[in-house]
């Protein structure tokens, strides 16, 4: 009994000590902004890009003395939490940022699997959350009321839109009539993209020859590829994460399938080029951002990023940068540094010139209006191929 009591006591003391240690923050007049990124787990490259762009955006503002709200300059402070690419950790990170760090707004998580649970917490705690990369409708939609969440926004376009554009692109530019789809059934985003693609492709008169799936962690796609090959498609659509793409493309090529391969925004990491090598050459995918775009501000962003981190920013970095851009713009217009005023200001943003395109929000919706970029992999590089406006 004594031993039991002592261990309980020690645990309580440890818990109190650990929670107290976070309490003496937030007393300066710095404004705290939370970031939830996938620093470890399945997609660490996504988390790393997000963290880099976040630090760069905040540093740029702090170098000018802070952000100007209602005539006063406030320095900014970043609180970065790791979601490990998992839903439960994303939710607890959001909880921690809001209750312990008292952040005024949250940027992230990027993956929808984390963004959906984190957005629930942000919505109930009335803290604005902007997910840079989450394309799933459920991130901004409240499943209970069927209405849009009021405190949740995203900097990217949605799955449904992306799936529609890709199906139109496959039939139009690539002249595909018979498409096969292979996707990761464990990911809501990818499943959404695959389903919308299928629906649009069939609606426009095309045939889906195979609709194959796998679960995260599988590396052997030989069975699915053999099935796909047997039906003779003239295009393969792979809404899969960049770490799976090389294996799938390679196995398709190994079975002698030389049809065009189309991917979604989940391909958009420069690591893909190193992982895939020559096999991916000639493939297309939709993206949020092209580093060789001539839009205003892009060159400066790319140069600054390259100078700091030595690599070309990918779409997560660009979207994170734009999420901060949207947030800063809203903070300047909000009049006072309060979560509710910032939320109201974001809803009124029109024609914000970001590095991923012109972003406009409409009252009552967290989903912006913007264009889709189609990139092609060529000679070991991502090359701009087409810009598709809504």
């Amino acid at each position: 009994m004594v031993r039991f009591c002592t261990s309980v006591l020690i645990m309580v003391l440890l818990f109190v000590a650990l929670t107290m240690s976070g309490c003496n923050q937030a007393k300066d007049d710095a404004i705290h902004i939370g970031v939830i990124a996938e620093l470890t787990g399945d997609i660490p490259a996504v988390g790393a890009s997000c963290k880099n762009a976040a630090e760069m955006a905040v540093k740029a503002v702090n170098d000018t003395g802070g952000i100007d709200i209602g005539g006063k300059k406030y320095p900014l402070k970043l609180q970065i939490e790791d979601s490990a690419g998992r839903s439960d950790q994303a939710a607890s990170a959001a909880q921690k940022l809001i209750t312990r760090d008292k952040v005024i707004a949250i940027i992230g998580p990027n993956a929808s699997s984390g963004a959906i649970p984190a957005s629930e917490i942000a919505e109930t705690s009335k803290v604005p959350l902007i997910s840079p990369w989450s394309t799933n409708p459920k991130t901004t939609l409240d499943p209970r009321t069927g209405k849009q969440k009021t405190y949740v926004f995203r900097a990217c376009y949605m799955d449904s839109f992306q799936g529609r554009v890709l199906a139109a692109f496959a039939m139009g530019e690539l002249k595909a009539k018979r498409a096969a789809v292979l996707y990761d059934v464990a990911s809501e985003v990818l499943k959404g993209q695959a389903e919308v693609f299928k629906a649009t492709f069939e609606e426009k008169g095309g045939a889906i020859t195979g609709f194959e799936t796998y679960t995260t962690g599988n590396k052997d796609f030989t069975v699915q590829m053999t099935k796909i090959k047997n039906d003779n498609p003239d295009l393969i659509f792979l809404p899969t994460y960049y770490s799976d793409v090389p294996l799938q493309v390679q196995q398709a090529r190994r079975f002698g399938m030389n049809v065009p391969i189309l991917g979604s925004d989940a391909w958009g990491s420069h690591d893909l080029l190193g992982l895939c090598g020559k096999d991916c050459d000639g493939s297309y995918f939709s993206s949020h951002f092209s580093a060789n775009s001539t839009a205003p501000g892009v060159k400066k962003f790319v140069d600054d990023y390259k100078a700091l981190y030595g690599s070309i920013p990918d779409d997560v970095a660009a979207l994170t940068y734009d999420s901060f851009g949207i947030l800063f713009e809203a903070m300047r217009k909000s009049g006072k540094p309060a979560s509710e005023d910032i939320k109201n200001a974001i809803q009124k943003i029109t024609g914000f010139q970001g590095v991923t395109g012109t972003i406009t929000f409409h009252e009552g919706s967290g989903d912006p209006e913007k264009s889709v970029v189609i990139l092609q992999i060529k000679d070991g590089e991502f090359k701009w191929f087409a810009d598709i406006k809504p």
Partner: protein, 291 residues
């Protein structure tokens, strides 16, 4: 016809890998009645050693296999010496928890060194042969042939050599064996070494066939190989080989006949049903009969 043979080949490739990994589980269980949950992670370490040997050291094929096998053998023996041997007299549950802990440790250690997925460069030029629609790649042939050779040599060792006899005796009665002058610790260490080495070779072959590797790759494969070992009858070496091919076949057939979403679901349901009727696995013998 070509389609069916192609799927049969896919099945053989998958089954061979499962079988080789399953041997590691079954051998350790056979001598110690311990489920070495870290075995899937040894497989992962084998794949990473293959990556280091090819991408960083630029070694050719045979040295790559040697580096991967030798590295995992050392790790396997070290794990046995440091984590399992001190707990040999402890309750079984503690040993199993330790095994899980060692697995998580190895994963996170690799994660700390390299959180990103890695691309393993081609070691052997990939040649594809085409027989009227059936595509056979050199890597598939390599995996199947090497696996069969490994399994045949292990079967020979266990059945025909003094070491094999000692291993079988250890499985029967660990208390009496030292009295017969058998160095029990050495036999156990050698068993771990062989199991780990097989895991390492399987990891290398896997990395050659599916050249994007990450620190979590061993978890699912490890579970599946463990299940293959249980289906075949854990502790039984021929059972593990049989179990590997059965699991490979069930998984492939499930994905061929039904939407691939149901692949694991169907595979595992069938295995559960099989275990209801043969709780000791296909070739397993109930423990009580041995007394």
């Amino acid at each position: 016809m070509a389609y069916i043979s192609q799927q049969f080949l896919n099945m053989l490739q998958l089954g061979s890998l499962y079988a080789v990994i399953a041997l590691g589980y079954t051998m350790v269980y056979g001598v110690l009645s311990l489920i070495n949950f870290a075995h899937g992670d040894l497989f992962m370490v084998g794949a990473f050693l293959c990556f280091v040997a090819t991408a960083k050291l630029h070694l050719p094929f045979v040295p790559v296999i040697v580096v991967a096998a030798f590295g995992t053998v050392l790790l396997g023996v070290a794990v046995e010496r440091l984590a399992y041997r001190p707990l040999r007299e402890a309750p079984k549950v503690s040993a199993i928890i330790t095994a899980l802990g060692v697995g998580v440790f190895i994963e996170n250690f690799t994660l700390a060194l390299s959180p990103y997925p890695r691309h393993v460069p081609e070691i052997l030029p990939n040649i594809s042969w085409n027989f009227s629609g059936l595509t056979v790649s050199s890597i598939q042939v390599l995996i199947i042939v090497v696996s069969v050779l490994l399994m045949a040599s292990l079967d020979f060792i266990v059945r025909k050599t003094r070491f094999g006899m000692a291993m079988r005796a250890l499985a029967c009665d660990m208390k009496t064996l030292p009295l017969m002058g058998v160095p029990v610790n050495t036999i156990i260490a050698l068993t771990f070494a062989i199991g780990a080495g097989f895991g390492g070779v399987a990891g290398t072959m896997y990395a050659m066939a599916f050249p994007v590797i990450d620190p979590y790759m061993g978890i699912m494969i490890g579970w599946k190989a463990f299940i293959a070992a249980v289906v075949g009858g854990i502790g039984n070496i021929r059972g593990a080989m049989l179990g590997g091919y059965i699991l490979g076949a069930v998984e492939t057939l499930a994905a061929v006949a039904l939407p691939s979403t149901y692949r694991d679901f169907i595979a595992f349901t069938l295995l559960l049903i099989l275990l209801i009727f043969r709780p000791n696995g296909i070739l397993g013998v109930p423990k009580t009969l041995k007394v």
